[in-house]
């Protein structure tokens, strides 16, 4: 079933269409939601709500974007709603200055896994606005204009947020887990 057929079947409430929608996009949305909120259980709730909202509003889908982009936009709104509903997390300077230690990540992990976990932890400490652009650009591989459209921002604002978000990530990650590697970071600092 291609996208158009899938949308048509969903509009006619064909049960097999919903199964295909969930099987095709469920895992991908879950991983994206997890990257955005940092909590697996919360990500599952968000994905479930995303599909239910999609079913309710499928008749409004005009096909101007891909199904994934449409689902992702719904999910992003739900992530924001979840975050507003939760007790607000405090990001202060002391927290920002504190590096994510590899030892916190537990023994028995490969370097790559530790680096990935450290990045995820650092990402969790970013502000929601910075986390969104990082995930959309580097995980979802959306282009700048697509992110601008998705978030309702100008391209300049998206690029500015990306720039500062990367700077904050660099501060949170220790040297050995730095995103550029030690040599490049020193070169950057010299410049």
């Amino acid at each position: 079933m291609n996208e158009n057929q899938l949308v048509t079947a969903l509009k006619h409430q064909v049960p097999a269409a919903l199964q295909e929608l969930v099987d095709t996009y469920g895992d991908r949305l879950l991983r994206s939601a997890f990257s955005l909120c940092g909590d697996e259980a919360e990500a599952e709730d968000i994905v479930q709500d995303t599909f239910l909202e999609a079913i309710r509003s499928i008749h409004r889908f005009q096909g101007r974007s891909t199904i994934h982009t449409w689902l992702h936009a719904i999910m992003l709104n739900l992530v924001r709603r979840h975050h507003r509903g939760r007790k607000r997390m405090v990001y202060n300077d002391a927290l920002m200055d504190r590096e994510v230690s590899p030892s916190e990540e537990g023994p028995g992990r490969s370097d790559a896994e530790m680096a990935a976990a450290a990045l995820a932890e650092a990402l969790r400490r970013l502000s929601e606005a910075h986390r969104e652009v990082i995930v959309l650009h580097y995980y979802e591989e959306m282009k700048i204009h697509e992110i601008a459209s998705q978030l309702g921002l100008s391209k300049g604002t998206v690029k500015s947020r990306l720039h500062y978000a990367i700077g904050d990530l660099q501060k949170l990650l220790p040297g050995e887990l730095n995103l550029f590697g030690v040599g490049d970071t020193e070169e950057m600092q010299k410049q």
């Binding site: 409430q13 049960p15 919903l18 199964q19 969930v22 099987d23 469920g26 895992d27 879950l30 991983r31 997890f34 990257s35 697996e40 990500a43 599952e44 994905v47 479930q48 599909f51 239910l52 079913i55 309710r56 008749h59 790559a112 896994e113 680096a115 990935a116 976990a117 990045l119 995820a120 990402l123 990082i134 995930v135 650009h137 580097y138 995980y139 591989e141 282009k143 700048i144 204009h145 690029k159 990306l162 990367i166 990530l169 995103l179 550029f180 590697g181 490049d184 070169e187 950057m188 410049q191």
Partner: protein, 191 residues
């Protein structure tokens, strides 16, 4: 193109979303600018590092069967067709708001009906009180008080005094529609 304008379009250059003309201008600038070539390499390394680490961290995540089944079960509930949903939306947006003043108007009308005797059906009330059939006549008596000034001369001065006078009117209304017999008002002495 100078370094500043290239840096403004660095993200678009790396993701390959520049127009053909802008891409050519960027290539010409890069050919002679080692600093911007370095910035491009850094962005490419960064994108690779963030993307691979985020994917590695979330790669084991998959939608659990119970979550999938819950979504499918919820999706089996038939959602209302768009027309019904539109009507429900109209009710939510407008009619529900209009219902509040309508209820208030009904309450006010009921209060007025209870407050002003003219809105009551006197015959019915009398009948219910007397426990008999509707009477042929209904007697009504209205009394009201009006201010009355009196003046008298005392030597060279005119003295006024204020008093109240009660005027009572009574009449009989006939069930067959005859005009009520209203006698001349009966005036009582000033108090």
């Amino acid at each position: 193109m100078n370094c500043r304008s290239f840096q403004n379009e660095l993200y678009e250059y790396v993701e390959g979303s520049l127009s053909a003309d802008a891409q050519a201008a960027a290539e010409r600038h890069l050919a002679g600018c080692s600093a911007c070539r370095h910035a491009v390499r850094q962005e490419q390394v960064l994108a690779q590092a963030v993307s691979s680490r985020l994917r590695l961290h979330a790669k084991t995540l998959a939608l659990r069967p119970e979550i999938r089944n819950r979504i499918l079960a919820a999706g089996q509930v038939k959602t209302p067709p768009p027309v019904l949903e539109t009507l429900r939306g109209l009710w939510d947006r407008f009619f529900r708001l209009a219902a509040i003043p309508a209820c208030l108007m009904v309450i006010v009308a009921l209060l007025l009906a209870g407050h002003f005797p003219v809105l009551r059906t006197g015959g019915t009330k009398t009948a219910s009180l007397m426990g008999s059939a509707q009477p042929d006549t209904v007697s009504m008596q209205v009394s009201y008080r009006v201010p009355a000034y009196q003046f008298h001369r005392e030597g060279a001065q005119v003295i006024d005094s204020l008093s109240e006078e009660t005027i009572a009117v009574s009449g009989v209304f006939y069930a067959d529609g005859k005009r009520p017999a209203i006698p001349n008002p009966e005036r009582k002495k000033p108090l």
